[in-house]
């Protein structure tokens, strides 16, 4: 086990020169929040959560999930100080729970992130079609728009265009500004019965269907796995990463809770479910149109579309890097670890993700599935369930890691907080599984509600089996599980 040196020389010409390129707290916060695409969540996820689950406690769900994730983060960022190249959840589970658990987590991550990514192809149509019909009088089928977005995402992925930091910052700030303006407008136009904080009351949340809300809302936080990836690139990893992660969680959960409540204010918390079912993701913009005029609503709709595209690209890049890292470890075939010489993109990982996206879009078209309900909502919630699984596994891995390496940090960081987080996440996961019929909108005795969660357990089983096969046949590959690109040098610094 090689642990990060506590003190590395920070003075000197070399460090000073490198420090110029390093990230401060605001940059990391930006990266994390933008990966969660605020407008996509508020317009797309929130209205869909109200509509599909019939539960009005969505704002409370964001507050509770934010709190749980903050507790989870305590152990998560502490482990980041002690694990080399902690690139992702699977590196943590490999370290804490053993390499087979690492491979299993990687498989779950690939499934979950792909589900969240392709789910967005179901949403993009409903964001772009109203704009096209308003401007050009055309209304193409959802899958035409989805394929255009797919082609753009795949192309940018191959060119290794990460939406550039500055573009990202501008987009994100505009998105947040629009959301805040919409919120204020909503809050200034309450229904006749006045303001109500019902949606924050436990009685509106602890109802059947609550697990479904959680599975949907957790997806809104999925960008935050990436915060520790920046450890090596920050000015002061011990400080920057934890603070940035807490800020990001606070901002995300606060903004989502406020906005999902604000949406109920002009509609009425008793009517929010029915109205969401009627208007879908358009609800946010219809309300804005009533209160602020058509121009502002249109600006919001345009940003909704760009926000989804940014999220598509972010997820695409996350997935292609996961595949690349696994290829470098030789856990996946070495070809997936290939770099594009001209662009430095993880080329085969990127192509693989695009193939998955295309296949799902084609399947939906062939079977005539509804893009919003069956693709965005069902597949997206399936992805959310995977994120929950990874969070729960990672919090247990943190506990296990520090029980194997005791005395490194204080008890709150390595036992109490990770312990609480693990219990809460397992409970939350249980609720999500129990309510999975609501997630899918099927009858409680439907077979499908068990089939989809079972996919994850099959993936876990196959991951463990694959790792054990590697241990038996290719021990040098087994030893590198969880190291990512560092597999080239083995477990060193």
């Amino acid at each position: 086990m090689s642990l990060t040196e506590e003190t590395e020389e920070r003075a000197g010409a070399v460090s000073a020169a490198l420090a110029q390129d390093r990230l401060g707290i605001p940059s990391v916060v930006f990266f994390v929040i933008s990966a969660s695409a605020p407008l996509t969540v508020i317009a797309g996820v929130v209205s869909t959560a109200y509509a599909a689950t019939g539960v009005t406690g969505v704002p409370l769900a964001f507050v509770l999930l934010g709190a749980i994730l903050a507790v989870f983060t305590v152990g998560y960022v502490t482990m980041a100080r002690h694990v080399v190249n902690a690139g992702a959840f699977y590196a943590y589970t490999a370290k804490g729970l053993g390499r087979p658990a690492g491979v299993a987590t990687a498989w779950v991550a690939l499934l979950a992130y792909n589900a969240l990514q392709v789910g967005l192809y179901g949403l993009i149509g409903s964001a772009v079609e109203p704009l096209l019909s308003e401007w050009f009088g055309i209304s193409p089928a959802w899958w035409v728009i989805a394929l255009a977005a797919w082609a753009l995402t795949g192309l940018l992925g191959l060119m290794r265009v990460d939406v550039n930091g500055k573009v990202l910052a501008v987009l994100l700030l505009t998105e947040v500004a629009v959301v805040v303006v919409f919120d204020i407008a909503n809050l200034l136009h309450p229904v006749a019965s006045g303001y109500s904080l019902d949606v924050f009351g436990p009685s509106s949340f602890f109802v059947p269907g609550m697990g479904a809300v959680i599975a949907i809302c957790i997806a809104a936080f999925s960008g935050f796995e990436s915060s520790v990836v920046f450890s090596e690139e920050t000015k002061d990893p011990r400080r920057t990463v934890p603070i940035a992660t807490y800020i990001a969680i606070a901002v995300i959960s606060g903004l989502y809770a406020l906005s999902s409540w604000a949406m109920t204010v002009p509609v009425g918390s008793d009517k929010i479910v029915a109205t969401s079912r009627e208007q879908g993701p358009g609800l946010l913009f219809n309300l804005a149109g009533q209160h602020l005029g058509a121009t502002i609503a249109t600006i919001g709709s345009v940003l909704f579309a760009t926000s989804i595209i940014a999220a598509l690209i972010a997820f695409h890049n996350t997935i292609s890097r996961y595949i690349f890292a696994l290829g470098r470890e030789r856990v996946l075939p070495a070809a997936f670890g290939r770099t594009s010489p001209r662009t430095g993109a993880p080329v085969n990982g990127s192509v693989a993700q695009s193939v998955v996206g295309l296949a799902v879009i084609v399947i939906c078209v062939v079977f005539g599935l509804d893009p919003l309900v069956q693709l965005f909502f069902t597949v997206g919630s399936f992805g959310g369930l995977g994120v929950l699984l990874m969070l729960a596994a990672t919090s247990v891995a943190v506990l296990a890691f520090f029980s194997k390496n005791p005395g490194l940090e204080n008890a709150w960081r390595i036992r109490i907080a990770p312990g609480i987080a693990a219990v809460l996440l397992v409970v939350v996961l249980g609720f999500a599984l129990v309510n999975f019929d609501t997630v899918l909108g099927v009858a409680p005795d439907s077979l499908l509600r068990w089939v989809l969660p079972a996919v994850y357990f099959i993936a876990i089983g196959l991951g463990v089996a694959w790792a054990l096969a590697l241990r038996a046949n290719r021990p040098e590959v087994y030893a590198n599980i969880g190291l990512g690109a560092e597999a080239a040098v083995g477990e060193s610094k």
Partner: protein
């Protein structure tokens, strides 16, 4: 470590030629991969000339000074001075540090030595080779050796390793025979193997990095 004749072609020059078009001087790889490769080649020159070596202690990989004698060349001397001044950095930091300026620095040395034309225009970052044959030779040498399955000398072994580690092999090599490539690297002394492995890991990191 075996000393290499300093009057002969230098590793970083060779890699520069291989990573650029031999007539136009166009960069074949993305600039961050080129920078990492050339940074590794500069460290490789210091290692091949017996100035520094890789130090491995307890899973910690750094650079250790072997011989502080002047290198007789501004580029490697500057790098060596930095290593002498701040010996405690790990290997990856040196790669990242040198990668920031390696492309310009190596091009400047080669321009001063009359191997490259200075860039045309102030904004251009393209140095065209003076003689296309000279520029094509390092890559040709590697390709011929691979084709004939002949072993490479020490410096060309490192050159090939760095070319493959930066992913340039996909563009330059006629035959990316995996057996030959791995045997070639395995034949190198351990510190030079570590140089190549560190470069491969740094390239992988830069692919995964979100910036």
């Amino acid at each position: 470590m075996v000393e290499v004749d300093l009057s002969g072609p230098r590793l970083a020059n060779d890699l520069f030629f291989v990573l650029h078009d031999d007539t136009t001087g166009r960069m074949r790889l993305s600039s961050r991969l080129t920078g990492l490769g050339l940074a590794a080649a500069v460290l490789g020159e210091l290692m091949l000339t017996g100035r520094v070596t890789v130090e491995l202690t307890d899973g910690w990989v750094g650079l250790a000074l072997v011989d502080a004698a002047p290198t007789g060349d501004t580029l490697t001397q500057t790098a060596l001075d930095h290593i002498i001044a701040e010996p405690s950095h790990r290997f990856r930091i040196w790669l990242q540090f040198l990668a920031r300026t390696a492309h310009t620095d190596v091009a400047a040395r080669m321009t001063a030595d009359g191997l490259l034309h200075p860039p045309r225009g102030r904004l251009s970052r393209r140095w065209a080779p003076v003689l296309a044959n000279t520029a094509a030779w390092p890559g040709g040498r590697l390709n011929l050796a691979i084709q004939r399955r002949q072993p490479l000398d020490l410096q060309d072994g490192v050159l090939l390793g760095l070319l493959v580690a930066t992913s340039g092999g996909q563009l330059v090599l006629w035959d990316q025979n995996p057996t030959y490539l791995s045997a070639s690297t395995a034949a190198l002394p351990a510190p030079l193997q570590e140089l190549i492995a560190q470069t491969e890991a740094a390239v992988g990191d830069s692919v995964i990095s979100r910036r």
